[in-house]
Amino acid sequence: MYRKNDNGQAMDPAEVTPCGAARPSSEPVLEMSFEVGHYDFAAAGEAASKIKQVLRKLGMAPDVVRRAAVAAYEAEMNLVIHSVGGSILLHVDTEKVTLVSCDEGPGMPDISLAMKEGYSTAPDEIREMGFGAGMGLPNMKRCSDSFSIESEVGRGTTVTASIRIA
């Protein structure tokens, strides 16, 4: 079993996930981690696009690829816009594709409010760029078979989305 850090470099298998989250443990697995920069709009979307290529190469069903790509894209944009940047961990085993978005940003004071369709704290300049419709998290949830958010104000946020294969 191998793990990757930013852009696919191998990491020590003993290392914990960037957020210290418990790793699912069925074999074989693929793990890759992608760094996402705060307000880095030039690179925004690249992590999601790389994740999509990887899943395609794995021969995943088109629908799984599409759902994972949408979830990864929303997570990535939230790291760009609402946090201080962070990382997206891709975990693939023979049962599911899991995406874990981790950051040490501002956190969310009210998770259920953040999950409401149309709710957004995106500032005006971001809305002018066409983001901030408040549909990202609900969209992620819709694409996932299991979905969870852990967040602490002032500490950071972890969003986990899993998509079952077949």
Binding site: R56, L58, P62, R66, V92
Partner: protein, 444 residues
């Protein structure tokens, strides 16, 4: 893996193994092995990008020749509208029609007419499927193959209508057969093609089992025959000729203009098509009603089996469609009548478009996951220069080839140099070790 017919082929004796083509291939289907390009049939979409790229003309398009006309009692040429953009010396389309008859065809039916039919069918199709958006034009077979190989999610978005070539072929064959009383299979219908993708579509149709076109002849193959005949003698009319809109299909955006819809998008050049389809696949173009996507720069006028510069051809095509404007209203009315007479079903896409597997690293998921992990480790050891000297288009592709057993890590010149350095260091160490016999002498 099913083996599929491809019209793009390598002329081995001409290939220098320069690796130019492997970098341009949109599906990364080409490798250079033992100094020669090798095409992976499962991935090739016959877009002809490598034909265009290779300066040594080592990539060729296998198509029919005029010899093949002899097999039929009566032959019909179906010139792609793009043909008319290729011959500067011709005063207009009629002269080229005449030249086609001179080189052996009994009759000519313009595919611009088929384009008018398909425009009409597409309009009706869009009305019957108001919910599915965007609809993607199926006119370019290279694009449809790309969707089959890379975007299976989008197969349901491809317009369920046949191509202008197909429409022209079916109508021309039926009309000639009833007019002259010749059996369908005694009539040879040949498409005069600007590209490899259409040759493949004729020989191995995308959806249907049966092709209604008997063969395809490359514009570049008969260019010489035609150019010597235009401007000399008379002019002839084709049995059917399309409107100026039908002609304009040869240029990118031409199909859109013919449809006359709002909320549409045209893209040309296979790498641009790739970029666009990726976003359609991401669901980010759901507000667009219709997408015209052509593999070739400037549209079919820039096809890999054409001879003229694509932009010169494009300009000429605009002039030609203006020149035929006079007959346009009549042509459009005629196309409508034909659709009403035969019915839309006659021109509907034959059969289902199926996904083509070919991109996955391994068909078994567990193996694919293990290989992917290994791929990332190999990739981390490669220099990341994407130089292509290993014969694979990128370092990532090379890592994949290594993991799949098609290449060795030291095929990378940088890895080879590292390995040689290590060996050289070992040799140096060995050379420096004192021989025991000499050692004893020195001690004394």
């Amino acid at each position: 893996m099913e083996s599929r017919f491809h019209s793009v082929k390598l002329l081995e004796e001409k290939c220098k193994g320069c690796t130019n083509c492997i970098k341009r291939c949109p599906t990364e289907a080409i490798r250079v092995r033992e100094g020669k390009a090798v095409i992976n049939a499962a991935r090739c979409i016959d877009c002809g990008e490598c034909v265009r790229t290779c300066e040594n003309h080592a990539k060729t398009i296998i198509a029919n020749s005029l010899e093949d006309l002899r097999e039929y009692e009566y032959t019909i040429a179906l010139p792609a509208p793009a043909l008319y953009s290729q011959l500067e010396r011709a005063s207009g389309p009629d002269e080229i029609v005449w030249a086609l008859q001179e080189i052996g065809f009994d009759e000519v039916c313009d595919v611009s007419f088929g384009a008018d039919i398909i425009t009409e069918c597409t309009r009706r199709h869009l009305m019957s499927f108001p919910k599915l958006r965007p609809v993607i034009s199926g006119a370019c077979p290279a694009v449809v193959r790309l969707i089959q190989v890379r975007y299976p999610n989008l197969l349901s978005h491809v317009a369920k209508v046949e191509s202008p070539m197909y429409a022209a072929a079916r109508v021309a064959r039926a009309e000639v057969s009833s007019r002259l009383g010749i059996a369908h299979d005694r009539i040879g219908v040949f498409f005069i093609t600007p590209c490899a993708a259409k040759v493949t579509a004729v020989i191995a149709p995308l959806g249907s089992e049966k092709s209604y076109v008997d063969g395809a002849i490359s514009i570049s193959d008969i260019y010489g025959e035609l150019i010597t005949r235009v401007g000399q003698h008379g002019a002839a009319r084709p049995v059917y000729r399309g409107s100026s809109f039908g002609f304009a299909w040869a240029n990118s955006s031409g199909e859109l203009k013919a449809l006359g819809l709002q909320n549409v998008l045209a893209v040309d050049g296979i790498h641009n098509v790739l970029d666009l389809l990726e976003e359609v696949d991401n669901g980010r173009l759901a507000g667009v009603d219709y997408i015209e996507a052509l593999a070739c720069p400037a549209g079919c006028v820039g096809g890999p089996a054409t001879v003229e510069n694509p932009f010169v051809a494009r300009a000429r095509m605009i002039e030609i469609s203006k020149a035929v404007e006079a007959g346009s209203d009549y042509a459009l009315a005629e196309a409508k009548q034909v659709v009403d007479k035969y019915g839309e079903e006659f021109f509907a896409l034959q059969g289902e478009l199926a996904a083509v597997a070919g991109l996955a690293i391994d068909p078994r998921l567990e193996v694919a996951i293990a290989k992917m992990s290994e791929l990332e480790r190999v990739l981390a050891r490669l220099p990341g220069l994407d130089c292509g000297a290993c014969g694979s288009p990128t370092c990532r592709a090379h890592a994949e080839d290594v993991v799949c057993g098609h290449a060795s890590e030291v095929d990378c010149v940088f890895k080879l140099r590292e390995a040689m350095e290590e060996v050289a260091e070992e040799l140096l160490k060995l050379a420096k070790t004192d021989l025991p016999s000499l050692q004893r002498r020195n001690d004394k």
